[in-house]
Symmetry: C2
C-alpha cells in the first residue's frame, strides 16, 4: 500500500501506519498519539495529526466521522460500515450488503453527481447493555 506511493517513509509515519493497522478500534488522533508514543516517546501530536491526514488523503487509511466531536481513523480501507455506541462512543465494524445500489437510487432522485455514501448505525454495544442492565 504505502509502498506503492511516493510518500517519504519516515520512522514516525511508518509507526503510525503500523499501529493503526494493528488495531480494529478506530482510534481518535489522541489515542493514536498514545499508541505511537509507546514506541516513539518523543513524537509530537502535530506529527500524528499531519500523518493521519496525509495517509487518509492518499487513501492508505480511512478518516471516519461518525458523529461525536473527534475524528476517528481506520486502517481497513475495504468497504464496510460502522456501528457507534451511544453510551461509550466505541465504533465497531459491520459488514452488510444492502442488496441494492443505494447510490444509484439516490442518483435517480437528485441532480448531484454522487461520489460515495456513508451508512452508519447507532446503538448500544454489548458491554454497555450489560452495564445498564
Amino acid at each position: 500500500m504505502l509502498e506503492d506511493t511516493s510518500l517519504r517513509m519516515t520512522r514516525q509515519r511508518r509507526v503510525i501506519l503500523e499501529e493503526l493497522r494493528a488495531v480494529t478500534s478506530h482510534p481518535t488522533a489522541d489515542e493514536m498519539y498514545e499508541m505511537v508514543r509507546r514506541r516513539l516517546p518523543k513524537v509530537s501530536l502535530g506529527t500524528v495529526y499531519r500523518n493521519l491526514e496525509i495517509l487518509a488523503e492518499s487513501g492508505v487509511v480511512l478518516k471516519i466521522d461518525v458523529g461525536g466531536t473527534k475524528k476517528r481513523f481506520d486502517g481497513n480501507v475495504a468497504v464496510h460500515h460502522h456501528l457507534r455506541c451511544v453510551a461509550c462512543g466505541r465504533v465497531d465494524d459491520v459488514e452488510l450488503d444492502p442488496g441494492v445500489d443505494l447510490e444509484a437510487l439516490a442518483a435517480a432522485r437528485t441532480d448531484y453527481d454522487i461520489l460515495r455514501h456513508r451508512l452508519e448505525f447507532v446503538g448500544v454495544c454489548p458491554a454497555c447493555k450489560a452495564k445498564e442492565g
Copy 2:
C-alpha cells in the same frame, strides 16, 4: 410540536424555531445566529447554541453532522437522508426508500442493540458542477 412540550417559550426560542422551520438549507449554528439576529438584533450566539441543543434533545429539530467541522440543524424531523456537496459544503435532502430494512440487516450481524442509522451521500451539487465545467 413545541406546543406539546414543557419548554418555556421565550421570544428567542420561538424565533430560532420559526427561522429554522422556514428554511430547507440545514443551517449551521452561526448561520442560524445571523438569521435570528435580523429579527432579534441583541440575541447572543450562546443562546442560539443553547436553544438548538435543547430543541434537538427534545426531538423538535434535528442536529445533523454530515462530515465537515460544523454541525448543522434541520427543522424537518421526518425520515429523510442527506446529500452533501464536497465542493461547497451545502446539504440537500434526498428522500429514498432502500426497499430493505437496513437496521434489521445490521442487527443480524452484531450484538449491538440498534437504535437508528444515518445514510448520507457525498457528491457534487449542480451549481458546483457548472462552475467546474
